[in-house]
Amino acid sequence: MSTFILLTITGLGLGAMYFLIASGLSLIYGLMGVLNFAHGTFLTVGAYASWWTSAHWFGGLGVLPRFLLGAVCGLVAGGLFAALVELVLIRPLYQRHIEQVLVTVGLSLAFVALVQGIWGPALRTYVVPGWLHRTTTVGGAHIPNDRWLEIATALAVLALLQLFLRRTRYGLIIRAGVENRAMVTALGIDVRRAFTLVFALGGVVAALAGVLGGVYFDTIDPNQGTSLLIFAFIVVVIGGLGSLTGSAVAAVVVGLLQQYVNYYASSGIGDMAVILLLGLVLLARPRGLAGTFAT
């Protein structure tokens, strides 16, 4: 029983990170029709900016303030970088989807090379407060405390994004734009501002996943964004493009499935099970669990 609890909480922690990456991807695709293969770079920017600033800017502080201030810097860097990508690379290619794919794939590859060139390909140790390395016993299972942080953060992000989408004018524009972008423009709304905002939001949340990835794995590396992005794409497709709630549900399912199958079947089979699930969902519900609406 304790093993099952540990697998479940670990799966939920992994699902939380998938959701953080997938939520931005899903909104960006839903609103703009952009398959953003560079989304993993936002995660990498967040991870490396938080790691670098906590070491160089806040090195004299205690571990907790270092971690928190570094995380804030990571989120800001992720948001700014994402907004810049939209303004400089995506906007000139508006409605040219093939070129957008080429540019985002190119940026993704170039950025990994750039990070490797500056900091090398080796894993970097990510310093986190000691409490996160300790465990809490639940039902006989010793759960690493960082899992709670990941799950709580994802839940908070889901709630905040829902509040943003439902209670703000830009949220309304994004929800409408996911359904019918041309009609939003025909109401006199400059939808390009919403594009930049969604990219920046996606960048901040992906950067948060980068910080939590550092906490989860204890290390960061230049390829972390790319490898997590693959599963985030699967989550987005299963959840339904443009649907936050769909992404949240799919992220939990994918995270749990990977953990259970890896343990109860055979290590490494979990990834195959996720691909199989993707195929089954596409056969049964081609538009994913939700889709069409930004809910």
Partner: protein, 229 residues
């Protein structure tokens, strides 16, 4: 005095030359009906005025060219577009659909609810669950919630039950007292009731323009240009 002036409007959709030099004026303070058989380019004309499709030619609104402006800037100048297929935001509530359309603080909710009381009653209902007629009311309401000078209305009675056609026609009659309207409409009964002027398209060009009454009286002309008796 024309509020809208269209000159030499050409539109290509793929290989098809849909509009071939369309020219007409829309006088201020009146309803002008844009008529023609199916596929002559009526909807394309409206969509090209607000640049939802790209075009060649000149469109003057209130004395200034709007041909090179992006869609949202054209709309912000006081033009509302009511699309043919309603295009409500299905996942948003009725109230949210209206709120989205509001461009400044002076939303005319009273006018909209006065014309279409059902929209007040169904404010919290998802627009996707409304009937076709209710969706049409919402689309027109969305255009009226701002104080626009020109309304481009595309087939507002299409697919509606006769009772709803009457209701929409009444709403159009009330709208024309406040706003200039360019109306695409197949129902000649509605045209007879609300329109002062007609512009008839045929094969991508203007085949006739003039007072609505005189055109509708000329049965042979109506038959020749619209194919109806």
């Amino acid at each position: 005095m024309s509020l809208l002036s269209v000159r030499g409007l050409h539109v290509y959709l793929g290989q098809s030359h849909v509009l071939q030099g369309v020219e007409f004026d829309v006088p201020e303070g009146a309803v002008t009906a844009l008529l023609g058989r199916n596929g002559v380019g009526k909807t394309t004309t409206l969509r090209s005025i607000v640049r939802l499709v790209s075009h060649h030619g000149d469109v003057q609104y209130a004395g200034a060219s709007i041909s090179s402006l992006p869609t949202h800037r054209i709309i912000q100048r006081g033009i509302a577009y009511v699309p043919e297929d309603r295009e409500v935001f299905a996942g948003l509530t009725v109230a949210e659909n209206l709120r989205l359309a509001v461009r400044n603080g002076d939303a005319r909710y009273d006018l909209v609810h006065d014309l279409f009381p059902e929209l007040r009653e169904r404010a919290q209902q998802r627009a996707g669950t409304l009937s076709g007629g209710q969706q049409q009311m919402l689309t027109i309401g969305r255009a009226l919630v701002n104080d626009n000078r020109l309304l481009l209305v595309d087939e507002p009675t299409k697919g509606l039950a006769p009772a709803l056609v009457t209701e929409v026609a009444k709403a159009l009659e009330r709208i024309r007292d406040r706003t200039t309207v360019l109306l695409v409409e197949q129902n000649l009964g509605v045209v007879r009731k609300v329109a002062e002027h007609v512009v008839v398209l045929d094969q991508g060009r203007v085949a006739h323009a003039g007072p609505a009454g005189a055109f509708l009286e000329d049965r042979s002309l109506v038959h020749r240009l619209l194919g109806v008796a």
